[in-house]
Symmetry: C3
């Protein structure tokens, strides 16, 4: 069950990376590299931070196959995938939920204190998208818009608190995932954004 | 004592990250993520290179609290913080000194050869600022201006040589820190810059 | 023999990093940092992924000396080095071959499954150039042009398959390196490019 959700999330993240790469006019292999990086980058950063060698994302071939395959599909059928943008965003919300909660759980299981586990979980969820944007020379979207990082943080906190209260891991992870996906979908639907600081009167260089 | 200096450095680095994020129009959570990344990114890179898992920056909650809190303060009071730019730069010089020397010491203590320890120490000092600039789509300032990297390198070399000569670690670290901070403050005050290569006559693509 | 090729590759990668830095108007130390990052970044990413601490690139002083020295030479003599652009590209092809095959071998020796070893080897070869371009605010060239990533992948696959068939490592590594260098040189000479996706009719934001 969780593995299926995992693969759905990987496909959605890979699609977002591959679409962005197609728009940036990367070649076929650049598109596949971006699909792999966006889908597996967050988990790889998590494993590097926690000392899991080699990173799980590299040794699980179904993950690689789904991410690379999605990249190929997007390369050939990107006009169709672009039209499915709304569905990709929905699946991306599911992926964010699964990645953040799995990242937080893994960190807790490896002995991180709860606040560190939340940060690691958040990084797992937003790291891939941040890598995608940095490679394509954009300021990471997740830092600018639409309640992305804060939804991730909220779900991570739920997992950490639930674990501390001794609730079963499956229940806690599911609750966190649903919350993250729900907040993201609501934010997309109602066009919620996190606040931005007041304009500078006298901007400096 | 060193912990206090550490926290001062973290606050100064977090303020520089948060100010840059406010100017780039990131939202509240983007500002906090940039504050955390700038303040704790260098130490995290150091720990990932040296195999310290999970990175100290993630498991020391006072570091997280100071960095995140500074981000919040800058978000709300950034016009005031902008006016204190000069003080932030002074504190940043102190932070650079503390981070570089602490990074070099840690690497030596974990068995790195002296030249590797210098590189690790330099990376500890300039890594956070480099991450900040890459995330905000700038060429890292530390590579372009004002004797930043070279001050860091100089201090790291002092720590490595002092350690090799058997001087007590506290003394060596303090000397290195003071040197780095002093050079940086002098460079800011006298507008010193490292040399730039001669212009290309026939620049190629 | 392999060490000599290794050092040639490091010098070529360092030269490409330093030339790019000179063009971006970085100062002397920025040029040297870019030379080190481009030459040693791929190997460092490999070691971080595989859990080799501290990374070999940091503890092998000949690597550091060659990379830093090349940076210095380029800083002072960059008009001459620019004219040697063709030779630098040839040496870069050799470097790519050596880095990718050595990275794949290392990953296999440390117990990674073959497909993971291929990805690690490819990352070893293209990681340094990608870091260079990200630091200089470019979309990584290796993802956009001239059969770079795919030559790397092809060589990595040869090493993995050869290892699986039980051929001696030296032979396999040499074959892979020659293939990568050959494909790259042919691609440069015949101006081969990987395919790019069809244009979007209605590009979205």
């Amino acid at each position: 069950m969780l593995t299926v959700l995992d693969l759905i999330g990987i496909a959605a993240f890979a699609a977002s990376g591959a679409l962005a790469a197609v728009r940036a006019r990367l070649d076929l292999f650049g598109v596949i590299v971006l699909a792999l990086t966006t889908a597996l980058g967050g988990g790889t950063i998590r494993d590097v931070l926690l000392g899991v060698h080699p990173p799980a994302a590299l040794v699980n071939w179904p993950y690689l196959a789904v991410a690379g395959g999605t990249g190929l599909v997007v390369f050939w059928f990107h006009p169709t995938v672009s039209k499915l943008r709304r569905s990709v965003l929905l699946l991306d919300a599911v992926g964010l939920g699964v990645f953040v909660t799995a990242g937080t759980s893994t960190a807790l299981a490896l002995g991180s204190p709860p606040y560190a586990a939340c940060l690691v979980g958040m990084t797992t969820g937003i790291g891939g998208g941040a890598l995608r944007d940095v490679l394509l020379r954009e300021i990471p979207l997740v830092l600018r818009r639409e309640i992305y990082a804060v939804a991730a943080l909220g779900g991570a906190v739920i997992v950490a608190v639930g674990d501390w209260l001794g609730f079963p891991e499956g229940l806690v992870t599911l609750t966190g995932s649903v919350l993250i996906a729900g907040v993201r979908i609501l934010a997309l639907w109602r066009k919620w954004n996190a606040p931005i600081a007041r304009k500078l009167d006298h901007p400096e260089t």
